[in-house]
């Protein structure tokens, strides 16, 4: 690990003011320390924001919905009884991520900013990685790309977004509360991540020095009828090959509203709006779910080793939709 200065922030203002082009905020540290050891990230300054947990570490409920502090640990939110009852897709996405130790450490804010697991990004001995070294090329295109993205990729980057929780947040129309040098603002969760395009090194729309302080999740008739389905190479402690976060509002058999987030298949947390539109106003049937899944992967582009992903993704989504429709709530 390269030398860095360690600073601990007792106030949000102090943390934001100390931020520089070469600094990183430290919350759970589970991605940051890992990537610093690999020499993928080389911050000159670490700003420890854990002391801000008193301010940003709470889960609050209201009639409008849920407020999840950015410094709430994944395990705490995953075990929250209200989340499990009223927003199961959020709790399940957290429970199915990482390991118990990592969930005790990692925060919700840090989790959504988790970097990709693309092996070429994680290993600086590969020269070509546009995300790590802009303009150097992409070793994954034409390389080992079995786990890479089929949606939202570009000729510059096909790295998969690794997280789970973000898919649940995007499906539930969450928003992100931010604090930065220019004050506070709020954006739709869907606006947080950027498609790789020709500049995959730019992963989010966060301004320099900006901190995620909380996530707001609006309440709605669909939050209880929700689930997260994650398909992996092994049954636990693995990243998704394909996953689906779904939330449904049913009137009898008819789908009044459907919200779908897809994981493991895309370069960013993926909202499948085409699939949602296919379901709305119709009865939930297996054929309808399959048609929606077709629409979700209509624009999928596969590479040498990930041709299985659209079919796995479709089947994952169909199973998630039918499972959510069958829930007794």
């Amino acid at each position: 690990m390269r030398p860095f200065a360690y600073l601990s922030a007792d106030t949000p203002k102090g943390a934001i003011a100390a931020s520089t082009a070469d600094s990183q905020f430290l919350a759970g540290g589970t991605t940051l320390l890992d990537l610093m050891k690999l020499d993928v990230m080389q911050p000159q300054r670490i700003i420890d924001i854990n002391p801000l947990a008193a301010k940003y570490g709470r889960i609050e409920r209201s009639a409008e919905g849920l407020s999840l502090g950015a410094l709430v640990r994944m395990a705490e939110a995953a075990d929250d009884p209200n989340l499990n009852r009223d927003y199961p897709v959020l709790a399940q996405a957290l429970h199915l991520a990482a390991s118990p130790q990592l969930r005790n450490m990692a925060t919700l804010g840090g989790n959504v900013l988790q970097r990709t697991r693309c092996p070429y990004f994680r290993d600086p001995s590969y020269e070509a990685c546009n995300k790590r070294a802009p303009g150097s090329g992409c070793a994954a295109i034409g390389g080992l790309n079995r786990k890479h993205a089929v949606l939202g990729a570009s000729e510059s980057c096909i790295a998969t977004y690794a997280g789970d929780f973000a898919q649940a947040l995007i499906a539930l129309d969450a928003s992100v509360e931010l604090a930065g040098p220019d004050g506070q603002r709020r954006i739709a969760f869907e606006q947080l991540h950027r498609l790789p395009g020709s500049s995959p090194q730019l992963e989010t729309t966060l301004a320099p020095g900006e901190l995620i302080t909380a996530f707001s999740v609006p309440s709605g008739p669909w939050t209880r009828r929700s689930l997260y389905l994650k398909i992996r190479d092994r049954e636990s402690f693995a990243f998704a090959l394909a996953s689906a976060a779904v939330a449904l509002d049913l009137d009898g058999d008819e789908v009044k509203d459907a919200r779908i987030g897809l994981g493991g298949v895309a370069t960013v947390p993926w909202r499948a709006r085409e699939a949602e539109a296919m379901l709305k106003g119709k009865p939930m049937t297996e054929a309808g779910a399959e048609a929606a899944a077709e629409a979700a992967f209509d624009k999928a582009r596969t590479r040498d080793q990930n041709a299985y992903k659209p079919e796995l993704g479709r089947r994952t989504l169909v199973r998630a939709l039918l499972g959510a429709a069958a829930l007794e709530i």
């Binding site: 601990s8 540290g29 589970t30 050891k37 118990p100």
Partner: protein, 197 residues
């Protein structure tokens, strides 16, 4: 604080910022402070309690909690397996919660740290989980065992040890290359029933 020493805890509180002349963007002193380059010889002072014993330490900010335990305190129970949060051999408890010492920055560690060395009583009597691992033959080479035991204690405390499946799921962060898993599960069940009895 006024001498511009940056690597000290609490420096970034609102009052400290004001006292230091301001880490306010654009001000001369703020910019000067930001340009100071970190050096491999920088030291961070911290106080940390491990297994009930307080320690005062002066460390390289890069020190992880795992290296602090092993190199500075000679507590070599927690093991360095992968050093990347994937194997669980470095699992310790901080304020009773299981965490990975390899991904914890020592300077950022807060709370009481418990390691395998602190489990046995003063008279040498083993913790029920240690006893159960021996009785069920829940290890072969033993390298992952301290991490398995610390994780298992937390697993039972968290009430995530109700069934074999649940134990397997909630012990998934601890790998065992000897694949002693069936006996690890049995040991956890045995220790759990003993602590509940």
């Amino acid at each position: 604080m006024a001498d511009g020493t940056l690597n000290r805890r609490g420096f970034l509180s609102a009052t400290a910022v004001a006292a230091a002349g301001g880490l306010v963007p654009g001000t001369a002193s703020g910019e000067a402070a930001k340009q100071q380059k970190p050096s491999p010889t920088d030291r961070e002072t911290l106080s940390l309690s491990v297994n009930g014993r307080p320690h005062q330490l002066s460390l390289d900010p890069r020190r992880t909690l795992l290296d602090l335990l092993r190199e500075d305190l000679s507590l070599t129970g927690a093991k360095k397996g992968c050093d990347h949060g994937q194997c669980g051999a470095c699992t310790v408890l901080v304020d009773g919660k299981r965490v990975l010492a390899c991904l914890t920055l020592a300077a950022a560690a807060r709370g009481e740290v418990s390691t395998i060395e602190g489990l046995a009583s003063a008279d040498g009597a083993l913790h029920p989980m240690q006893e159960a691992f021996i009785q069920e033959d829940a290890f072969q080479c033993g390298y992952c065992t301290p991490g398995q035991i610390m994780s298992a204690i937390a697993c039972v405390r968290e009430k995530h040890a109700d069934s074999e499946d649940q134990i397997r799921e909630f012990m998934s962060g601890n790998l065992c290359r000897c694949a002693a898993y069936p006996n690890i599960v049995k040991a956890i069940q045995r220790a759990k029933s003993r602590t509940e009895a």
